[in-house]
């Protein structure tokens, strides 16, 4: 292919600027690399040209749909000298895998929005930010699967970070001979500085009590995913669901996986929507599991809206028992995300004095804030 270099250079720089203005992270360096690539003069066909720019201008899987979109717009509609020479239809991004179709939908959907907004974010960035702040109960059908993906990714990252931080803490136990000798070198062979080797600290034990009653219906689905994310990275996680009865789902999650557990729970949750007996459920937790599971190093997270229909006073007594046996008690209430929310529901106000942290859990953002809490333990 014969290329008219000066005009191609101009067109390329134009494309880089265009891409930047539309939100691709393209800097001078990328443009320069693209020009160098052009100088190689090896473009046998349009496809190679497209692949080259793609490799240079994208730095993330999420960039790809936006790039395709922009490439199509710029090189197919702009009518200058360069364009006339490349009349052939430029690759259309049909071969992109199906997972990306969602993202490309965002890319296109965000098209108009991006015109007005500051365009530093990549494709999907806006949607991600928006969804992170959306209340779980208000997520549209269509967005639900996207949100699931984001949630899974973010929670997985969070679990990983937590895991790493825990490994860093070293308890001093035995002398690490190898590192001691190494350190002694700078003191002429005298082991002045002793280096220690410790066991990896035990992972913290997490107990999760999840309310799946009718009033929590919209939230419990996402919260269960959260539980799942935590469970798959912490070995010592015990999880329970309750509405009118308590049920241990640790085993179910471990052996059946998330999807099946969700399916298994759904019909029951419907039947149970008659009312929530938080107090009763915590009581059976205390009777059946607490002595075995709760230790001074464990942390209990209750995910519930605190709308208790059981007898007065039961919840207070039981939550007190739990508090006494654990290191931290966290209560996550999705309703707390609403403006003007006051924890005035009887169940909630009974429990509140014994709770160390009372947080909201109505959207992704708020769930991610838990990270600080979890790692402070």
């Amino acid at each position: 292919m014969k290329i008219d270099t000066p005009s191609l250079t101009r067109a390329l720089i134009g494309f880089a600027q265009f891409a930047r203005s539309k939100g691709l992270n393209v800097g001078v360096e990328e443009t320069f690399t693209a020009l160098r690539a052009v100088d190689l003069g090896v473009f046998e066909n349009k496809a190679v040209f497209y692949y080259t720019l793609k490799a240079i201008f994208c730095c993330n899987k999420d960039d790809l749909p936006l790039f395709d979109h922009l490439f199509g717009i710029y090189w197919e509609t702009k009518n200058d000298d360069t364009r006339k020479k490349s009349q052939h239809k430029i690759i259309n991004p049909q071969h992109l895998p199906k997972q990306q179709s969602v993202l490309s939908a965002w890319g296109l959907g965000n098209g108009e929005q991006k015109q007005e907004e500051d365009s530093k974010t990549v494709t999907g960035g806006n949607a991600t930010v928006r969804l992170r702040k959306t209340d779980f109960s208000k997520v549209a059908e269509m967005d639900a699967s996207i949100l699931e993906d984001i949630a899974e990714k973010l929670w997985r990252e969070m679990s990983k970070r937590l895991k790493r931080r825990m490994k860093r803490r070293h308890t001093r136990e035995t002398i690490d001979l190898r590192r001691t000798i190494r350190a002694s070198l700078q003191h002429g062979g005298d082991p002045i500085e002793l280096r220690h080797r410790g066991k990896k600290p035990r992972k913290m034990r997490l107990v999760i009590l999840l309310d799946v009653s009718g009033s929590m219906d919209k939230y419990s689905f996402f919260l269960l995913r959260f539980v799942w994310a935590l469970q798959s990275y912490f070995e010592q996680v015990e999880s329970f669901v309750f509405s009118t009865q308590l049920r241990c789902i640790t085993e179910a999650l471990k052996t059946k996986g998330l999807e099946k557990t969700l399916k298994m729970l759904t019909p029951q949750a419907d039947n149970w929507s008659s009312g929530t007996k938080i107090g009763e459920c915590l009581k059976s937790f205390n009777e059946q599991y607490a002595s075995r599971i709760l230790t001074r190093s464990s942390m209990v997270i209750v995910l519930s809206d605190g709308l208790d229909t059981g007898e007065k006073g039961v919840l207070e007594g039981e939550i007190q028992k739990i508090r006494r046996k654990t290191r931290r008690l966290i209560w996550l209430n999705p309703l707390k995300g609403m403006t003007n929310y006051e924890p005035s529901a009887r169940g909630m106000s009974e429990a509140l004095p014994y709770v160390d942290y009372f947080r909201s859990a109505h959207n992704l953002e708020s769930m991610l804030e838990l990270e600080d809490l979890l790692c402070s333990l």
Binding site: G27, E30, T52, K54, C59, K61, E157, G189
Partner: protein, 293 residues
């Protein structure tokens, strides 16, 4: 030699001769790696030949492959260099009664003989020709190491305080792979050419199977690939990659099957599904829908 590769089609046919099926897109990226000497970052699901790409490139260029497998907690000692201090201690003892003065003694024990070269240092100290440096699963390292790598990839030099700065005589061809368990830093990504590898299409996967096992029967190969392609559409814990396809094909051939049937699948579940949940799911759902006759 790299000089013999002057265009992309030469690259494709070169890989083809080695038995590696490469599409034009990836070939373009590799070509840019060879010509621009910019590192490439290859992302994609496990088991679709990311590591193999580096292997094949090294064979194609007839050069050394240096591999750095990343893991959590990988540090400079394991990745760049380390003084062989046991040997140094011995060296000190040996020199104790020699007539050398102190400066000479010191120079002795901090010479290259006492240096343990780790992959990154090896890659820039290659003498005769540029090696291929594969930094595998970069997403598993810590951010600190990533920052260090960034410095190395832009300067291609390493400073050892006792020896001075070692600059690469031949800039290595760097291939980074990532399974996307974590987002890499922007700075590192911008240093690299990016390529996302997806599961291959039916035709490409079939071509890969034929390439690897020229003797395979046509029907069996088609059935295997069709089955795997259909399986990937399902929600699995671990989606089988190309390496699973190849393992499976080999197993079935070794067991003497000519066509794929339920019994054959039942005997060889372990080749394609690596999670008990997935196996159970498949057993419950049955395999009829995935099979073509």
């Amino acid at each position: 030699m790299e000089t013999s590769i002057n265009d992309i089609s030469a690259l494709i046919s070169g890989f083809d001769r080695l038995g590696y099926v490469i599409d034009e897109e990836l070939a373009t990226v590799v070509f840019l790696l060879l010509k621009l000497r910019k590192p490439i970052l290859v992302e994609g699901n496990p088991g679709i030949g990311k590591t193999e790409l580096a292997n094949m490139l090294a064979r194609l260029l007839d050069t050394q492959l240096i591999r750095l497998q990343c893991y959590e907690g990988l540090d400079v000692n394991a990745a760049v260099y380390e003084w062989n201090y046991q040997k140094q201690l011995l060296g000190i003892k040996i020199q104790e009664h020699s007539t050398l003065n102190e400066a000479e003694k010191e120079k002795n024990i901090f010479s290259e003989d006492y240096l343990l070269k780790r992959p990154l240092l090896q890659s820039i100290s290659a003498k005769d020709k540029a090696p291929v440096l594969l930094i595998d699963e970069i997403d598993r390292t810590d951010e600190e190491f990533e920052a260090f790598l960034l410095e190395l990839l832009s300067e291609f030099q390493i400073t050892i305080p006792e020896l001075g700065t070692i600059k690469a005589q031949h800039v290595p061809y760097v291939i980074l792979t990532s399974n996307r368990t974590r987002e890499l830093s922007d700075a590192l990504k911008r240093r690299c050419l990016y390529h996302w590898v997806d599961y291959p299409s039916m035709e490409k996967e079939l071509a890969i199977v034929y390439k690897r096992f020229p003797a395979i029967e046509h029907k069996l190969a088609t059935q295997i690939v069709h089955f795997i392609q259909a399986l990937r559409q399902k929600k699995l814990q671990k989606t089988p990659g190309v390496s699973e396809t190849l393992d499976w094909a080999l197993s079935l051939m070794t067991l003497g099957y000519h066509t794929l049937d339920e019994q054959a699948i039942a005997r060889t579940y372990g080749c394609i599904l690596k999670s008990t949940d997935d196996i159970r799911m498949l057993q419950e759902e049955g395999v009829e829908s995935l099979l073509i006759v």
